[in-house]
């Protein structure tokens, strides 16, 4: 491990400057390159304008908006509040369940609806399954960005099984429209609980296998430890959330600290970055926090499956949603962090304003801060560690 300690990523750039005949100063050692919007490792259509001095990054300017689909404008033009949910799905398309749940929680708080217990349990199971699926995409693509292709397929192999469970539940594999305000669109199918238990049993040993293959690989550790260090105070100042914030050593999880649903009934621990391989808040910490969260999610799912009560999942769905004048900001823990919905009602049946505070949008804004002075190859990993989904960044 001594090797990675000595290989610090804060190189000092010394751009050479020359004067042209017209009196302009040219910084000849620097080159501006464009990464994206079509680039294999920007995870979608992110464009990074990078100023590099050789391989060392002087500055990064992210340009977003290539996938802007007017979520907020659409939400204002729906005929009722329930119709926003399919659009919420399409924000973070690899964690659609969590997006729906956030919206449903916000609306239920606004309408002061008590949701049946069975609904809460099913929501927890779905949200945690989705969290595993989403983290699998994150750590899998992380492997690709580090140059290892095999972990990616291992991760997707397991993700397929989760998607099979979702397909069984609501017929869709990616965008579900399953969690509704006040309830769910369907009850669970009869075989679901057995299949989900089977999945948990199958999946536990696979976590260790994945860790052996990628997480504790010497080269991978050297590539990610001490890279893109995000200090605690900067993380809070930039309102980072989710694994990004926890990797920086902040013990903070909305499921426990701003409670919603029935998470308080289960035994689980928020995972915090400890800087085992380098500094607290480096890219490796972000990776290991995700890996450990997957394990915690399996724990939660197993407990929820064991204790799921009977009940009617559609009992509390209001016939017509017409909240009083007012507003609410509610936040829940999505795989990428805090998904907050600020909903304003003017007393009619359509939302007056819906603002989605998407975690990846906020987490991405800290990217220039943490990648200055790193190398070009590091930037790819730092961006992968932030784990952006452009659908949610651009909304």
């Amino acid at each position: 491990m001594n090797g990675s300690k000595t290989l610090l990523t804060s190189y000092v750039s010394q751009p050479g400057e020359i004067k042209t005949s017209s009196g302009k100063t040219l910084r000849t050692d620097e080159m501006i390159i464009n990464m994206g919007p079509q680039h294999p490792s920007t995870h979608g259509v992110l464009r990074l304008e990078i100023v590099v001095d050789g391989e060392i990054i002087v500055d990064v300017i992210p340009h977003i908006g290539y996938l802007h689909r007017c979520f907020e404008k659409h939400a204002e033009h729906m005929t009722n509040y329930q119709q926003v949910i399919p659009y919420a799905d399409r924000m973070d398309y690899v964690a659609a369940m969590n997006m729906e749940q956030g919206y449903a929680v916000a609306m239920e708080r606004m309408l002061k609806i008590e949701v049946p217990e069975r609904v809460e349990y099913i929501r927890v199971i779905m949200a945690e399954l989705q969290r595993i699926a989403s983290h699998l995409v994150a750590v899998g693509t992380f492997g690709i960005d580090a140059g290892a292709f095999t972990p990616f397929l291992y991760a997707f192999h397991d993700r397929e099984r989760i998607l099979d469970l979702f397909e069984m539940t609501c017929g869709a594999r990616l965008l579900y429209n399953y969690i509704w305000v006040g309830g769910l669109s369907h009850d669970l199918p009869p075989q679901f609980i057995d299949k989900a238990k089977e999945f948990c049993k199958y999946y536990r040993p696979r976590i260790k296998e994945f860790n052996d293959l990628l997480t504790y690989n010497e080269i991978f550790v050297k590539r990610t430890a001490n890279v893109g260090v995000l200090p605690k105070d900067v993380a809070i100042n930039y309102a980072c959330s989710g694994p990004m914030l926890r990797a920086s050593g902040v013990n903070w999880d909305l499921r426990r600290d701003d409670p919603y649903s029935v998470y308080d009934r289960f035994e689980w621990e928020p995972q915090v970055g400890k800087g085992e391989m380098g500094t607290v808040g480096d890219t490796w910490d972000r990776h290991i926090v995700r890996m450990r969260e997957i394990e915690q999610s399996v724990n939660i799912i197993e407990q929820a499956l064991a204790g799921i009560p009977e009940g009617n999942v559609q009992a509390a769905i209001p016939k017509r949603i017409r909240p009083e004048r007012g507003e609410i900001y509610a936040r829940t823990e999505a795989p990428r962090g805090e998904i907050g919905y600020y909903i304003v009602s003017d007393g009619s049946t359509t939302p007056f304003r819906v603002k989605a505070r998407s975690p990846a949008f906020v987490n991405l804004s800290v990217l220039p801060e943490i990648s200055r002075g790193a190398m070009l190859a590091d930037l790819v990993l730092i961006a992968a560690g932030v784990d952006i989904v452009l659908g949610e960044v651009d909304r």
Binding site: A146, A148, F149, I219, R223, L376, A377
Partner: protein, 348 residues
């Protein structure tokens, strides 16, 4: 063959042509097999099946791939340096192909049995760097330049450990001629240089730690020489798109590909000839002879190629500074120690 020689000048030219065409036939055949093997091995490492539809278990897929590449439009971007751009793939392939002429495939077949064989291979295969730099520069693409610069720096740095490792084998065998080096190791697996060579027992036992380390280092350095994972930075897909061959398409791209595969075989061949007994049989005189020699040589080389593929689909990639660190601060010092140790043992 003697009948041909009687034909005078034209006969000898014909012999030379046939003789030199043999490696290229071999390279093409080998590339087809390796292309298929790489995809299949990768797939099985990754828990999937790969090609299953073109022919039995997808065996026709390499042909289909080549057909596809042949049909592709040969694009050259408007801002590219057209001459250099066109030339680059051939220079890369030439460097590799040229080196094949000094590879001892069997006791009776070697393209050119020159006394400076190893030296010739090291020298000629450096031409590959020139080709890659040409390609990267001529593409007029920032990513390509990045890839080409990385590649040049990497290959030049890793020439040092490669040359030093080769030097150790040469010190033990006492020859630069690869046929002589191979003959030196005849008589079975225990006579291979990697196990100390056919020297008196005490010397051999003292040599084994050094030769084993040297062999491993040579293998690592050869991975870097051919830009394979974990040293595939020049074409790092997730960082540089495709590095120096981003702008290439169709047959020119295939040329780079072919050169890469041929290069994999080349570095394996050098390693095998120097350390693993070349075409000699591992069982002494059992199963030896020119034809068996060919079998053993190619078999050993393919085993190393398989190792390269295996590593590629398992490990992540290093970063540029770590790559340099490995070469200059780890491999080279180790080899200096090995040279000193081997020299001391041989003198005593």
């Amino acid at each position: 063959m003697e009948a041909l020689e009687n034909l005078g000048v034209w006969g000898s030219i014909l012999i030379a042509v046939v003789w030199s065409a043999l490696p290229i036939v071999f390279i093409l055949l080998y590339a087809l097999v390796t292309l298929y093997a790489e995809m299949k091995i990768a797939a099985h490492i990754q828990d999937r099946l790969a090609y299953m539809r073109t022919g039995w278990h997808g065996t026709l897929q390499p042909f289909a791939d080549i057909l596809k590449l042949l049909q592709k439009e040969d694009t050259i971007s408007s801002a590219a340096d057209r001459k250099l751009f066109r030339l680059a793939p051939y220079v890369v392939f030439m460097g590799t192909y040229g080196a094949f002429s000094a590879i001892p495939f069997s006791s009776i077949y070697i393209g050119s049995n020159i006394d400076l064989g190893v030296f010739f291979i090291v020298a000629v295969s450096s031409l590959v760097v020139v080709g890659i730099l040409m390609g990267g520069w001529a593409s007029n693409n920032k990513w390509s330049i990045f890839g080409a610069m990385r590649s040049a720096a990497q290959m030049v740095s890793y020439e040092i450990p490669t040359a030093l490792a080769i030097l150790i084998a040469v010190m033990i065998t006492g020859s630069l001629n690869l046929q002589d080096v191979t003959k030196f190791q005849e008589g079975g697996i225990h006579n291979w240089v990697v196990f100390g060579g056919p020297l008196p027992l005490t010397q051999k036992l003292l040599l084994i730690p050094f030769t084993l380390v040297t062999f491993i280092i040579l293998f690592i350095a050869s991975l870097a020489e051919v830009n394979r994972t974990p040293f595939d930075l020049p074409e790092a897909e997730s960082e540089l798109v495709q590095g120096f061959n981003t702008e290439y398409s169709g047959m020119r791209f295939a040329m780079f590909y072919l050169a890469e595969y041929a290069n994999m075989f080349l570095v394996s061949a050098v390693t095998v000839a120097l350390f693993l007994g070349g075409w000699t049989s591992p069982f002494g005189s059992f199963l030896s002879g020119p034809v068996w020699g060919l079998f053993w040589f190619i078999g050993k080389c393919l085993l190393l190629v398989f190792l390269q593929i295996w590593i590629r689909w398992t490990l992540p990639r290093l970063r540029v500074d770590q790559l340099m660190y490995t070469s200059w601060k780890v491999l080279t010092p180790f080899l200096f120690v090995c040279i000193f140790g081997v020299g001391l043992i041989l003198v005593l």
